[in-house]
Symmetry: C2
Subunit: 164 residues, 2 copies
DNA sequence: GCGGCAAAATTGAACCGTCAACTACCGGTT
DNA sequence: AACCGGTAGTTGACGGTTCAATTTTGCCGC
């Protein structure tokens, strides 16, 4: 038996479409700015940030993948490229023979220090400064909820409860 | 002369990071659901939607590109793939010899009709139903402003020096 | 109606991300 | 100690995206 589809209300649909279009333009702009000004992609920049904030400026590959919500394979490829141009280094993990830690090089750190002010300026310019503070707060709240909801939640309805 | 970088406030940063992480997870989920359930990517689905809403279910390539905020080259490639599997057709534009119009086939329309309810369900499930209505409205407002700001705005590097 | 410039769309190569298979290692069990 | 399911990470092939040409056509002044 089929249930009639519940479509979105007009307001919901408007919000959703604005979100789609807005994020596309926003991400494109930030990525382009970073590439033009500092020859970094947004994903690469994100990785530099996470590493710089970690003790020893180093993180296990899996932790890195989790923190930026990328697949492990993707992190492997990206780190390989970044290692090739000297932004990070890979070391064997001492406590776990399977583990690999990615570690920020001095060059990588400098590159981040150079790029960060311009990137923040872009974010400010494209988002922070153009929306009402209250709306920005709401946006943060909303996306944080979305993230929490999707993060540990497999598409499989059977696994909706956790015990870790 | 260098001006001290104005970083984001703690609240702004939290909102921004939630946005980054949340959109990554959200887009991944919607794309995955569409692929698993209907063998469509999210960009393909978006194209089907735009075409279905247009008179004659047809749009010029450039209009299509604009409406989903994709590059023309990207639209060309995507439409080529979609044409190869029978979802759309390309016709020469009658009024402009350079123009090409992409047109939804019956198969493409049926595919959209099949996919739409599930996709809406995914959007509901991952976003609409998990955030406060007021926050969703704010999110829509914010991203709509962002889009308007970035859309017709050239990334001209000369204009990047600003005094806020 | 000709020459030159701009726009519409395509092309192919290079680049990035995904996927499934694979290697290596951990930890508990027997 | 050999086993075995599970985890960490890598690999290479494939598919999608970007980028810098290239082609074709429209448009405008002369």
């Amino acid at each position: 038996m089929t249930v009639a589809t519940r479509w979105l209300t007009s307001d919901q649909q408007k919000a959703w479409r604005s979100f789609l279009v807005g994020t596309t333009l926003l991400m494109d702009r930030l990525d382009r700015d970073l590439r033009d000004q500092h020859d970094l992609s947004l994903p690469e920049y994100e990785i530099l940030v996470r590493l710089s904030e970690s003790p020893e400026r180093a993180l296990r590959m899996a932790e890195l993948a989790d923190s930026v919500k990328n697949s492990r394979s993707r992190i492997t490829h990206t780190i390989a490229r970044m290692e090739a141009i000297g932004l990070v280094m890979r070391r064997q993990c001492s406590s776990d023979g399977r583990g690999v830690v990615a570690c920020l090089t001095d060059a990588g750190y400098s590159r981040l220090v150079e790029a960060a002010p311009d990137h923040v300026e872009s974010v400010r310019d494209a988002l922070i400064n153009v929306v009402q503070p209250a709306d920005l707060a709401a946006l943060g709240r909303a996306m944080s909820t979305v993230a929490r909801r999707l993060d540990t939640d497999t598409p499989d309805p059977l696994l909706s409860s956790r015990s870790v």
